[in-house]
Point group: C2
Chain length 389, copies 2
Amino acid sequence: MSFLEQSFSVKFEYKIYFAKSLFDISNPTLANFFKESQTSVVRKIFFVLDQGVADAHPGLVSSIQAYFDQYQEIQLIQEIMVIPGGEASKNDITLFDRLVEAVDRFGIDRHSYIAAIGGGAVLDLVGYAAAVSHRGIKHIRIPTTVLSQNDSGIGVKNGINYKGKKNFLGTFSPPAAVFNDDQFLLTLADRDWRSGISEAVKVALIKDPAFFSWIEEHATQLVARDLDTMNYLIARCAALHLNHIASADPFEMGSARPLDFGHWSAHKLEQLSNFNVLHGEAVAMGIALDSAYSFMTGLLSEEKLLRILHVLLHLSFDISNPLIQISDPESPILHGLKEFQEHLGGKLTITLLTDLGTGKEVHEMDHQMLIQASHYVSDFTSKAAVLPL
Amino acid sequence: MSFLEQSFSVKFEYKIYFAKSLFDISNPTLANFFKESQTSVVRKIFFVLDQGVADAHPGLVSSIQAYFDQYQEIQLIQEIMVIPGGEASKNDITLFDRLVEAVDRFGIDRHSYIAAIGGGAVLDLVGYAAAVSHRGIKHIRIPTTVLSQNDSGIGVKNGINYKGKKNFLGTFSPPAAVFNDDQFLLTLADRDWRSGISEAVKVALIKDPAFFSWIEEHATQLVARDLDTMNYLIARCAALHLNHIASADPFEMGSARPLDFGHWSAHKLEQLSNFNVLHGEAVAMGIALDSAYSFMTGLLSEEKLLRILHVLLHLSFDISNPLIQISDPESPILHGLKEFQEHLGGKLTITLLTDLGTGKEVHEMDHQMLIQASHYVSDFTSKAAVLPL
């Protein structure tokens, strides 16, 4: 038996730009990006826009057209496609088909771009269509929610759902660039503004104790929608996510998934709520549960657990929502453990906490101790309701 | 304006094993591969089989089942899916849907494998389904034709067609491993045996003059279906392709495509013939045309051109097929230039020859000189028909 061996590395690089009013003609950020990457070929850009963003920003389509009239570095496809946002858009295969059909109709090639403006679901869907068209068209993400600006929109994953299975089809495909425009945050509903903060709490808890303290100190301003405070939170959270992706296993060839702290129950809870509970809200509940479990198993001190629960309540998260409560080994949320294990492929890997800022991987969770952890969170919430925070 | 910068490299490694009778219980090659990559998780393997291969090897399905009964390193999904082969399978989106549905039904996760046994089209289709399921299931390729064993099956591309556009949907996704079993070659039709040799001529002409001389010296044995000679040709051709992929631009982020020597006309010719002309046959015609063009433009000596045309005729290629003849600037094959340019994205890049073993990129082709090149090939073929080779 003989063999040949193939081995190579592929380098991926992209920037996350922080901007205000990206399509204001006085803002050259986007135009400069295309100027710097100028080549001799004719390049086109095709925009896809989240319906929710289009509704909140009625002048956006004409601003985009005016912007590219002014800056001629790239040829704008005049038709801007508006598609529904939210998780439902990832269940609708006809939206994927419409995107691929547009790539064909407008002659978008591998030197050209599809830009998506919207929440995480629209970015996931458009990113997937871009990744498989012509084996990969350049993709620009313009995330418009806190969650997508600090987490999903800046990473390397895309995907759509299949038969109700989240992200069953997708790829690991780094974007060409990400542009975080804080003006989109101003029109978010309060729930959307707040829910994305939980991913910052999560990454602080597993990576950065100083950032956790900063969140504690700024919880009031965050809830009061102070934009500068939110911009700092997003930038720090994005940097921690980017560092993690680059330093670990960008395309997740192994099993470890530390960034999924609190997520095994969150994924299940979103589904149990028919996606009425937002991803970020579910993650906050999952963080509370797994932090309490870390205390129950002796990994984390009670004092530190209490700081975590306090900050989550301070940020107005409903951490004792009935759907996440575990009263017995048949509680529906526990099915999330098995589904998470299947998603990872065979071996369960759960991140717990040993300190604020330090995660630890375990490979099983005890149902009785999960029940105790769930009770602890509920008791804490009941007491906090009658005491000052 | 501020920004964060993301930068990381991803390493890809896989082996191409050369084997005889892969599913013979006395052959541990495949079992050893799974033994070496053993982990603690339960892994499954799901086989997809080209109908043409199943017909030529009626015992194959039961051999696979018996093999994995014997070697228990991995759990065989007992249902083996047989799908039609050839280019038509890449046009049929329902085949892609059936594959994804099977991944779901059999619970194939990211630690499990889909293996495809067949010609290039089946490998492309199954490779694409594997690449996008769960953001990438491990994929094993078992190519059964000369062309797929020496070229398409050992590389990193997959894809399906869309609205008649070749490989419109696809990804760059290295396989987990490739197993070239020479026993599959024995049942190939003569045309399939011979047509894959043209990719070896191509890669020899742009990379390896000694290999070109070897092909000249062994053309008689190759046409006479000597298996050892073919095995050498496949191994050398595969090694040259692998080296090229690893040393250049594996995921084709730039525009250069030297391995596409002779291919601009070949792609168009396949389509003009309704795929009655095989890919390898079309490539042989494309090599003849672009070699003659290299002579017409003064890049290549006539003596070297004649050696190329001789070896192609010796290998029984129909290099003056009417479909590739260019009699005037309206000849249909010339549309292939524009389509190739669109496929690359804007800038035309064509590889020509300056010597046997040395390519050179140019960015335009002169229609009048292409007409002369086409006439030269036709005249040569007419003369060769009445003279000894």
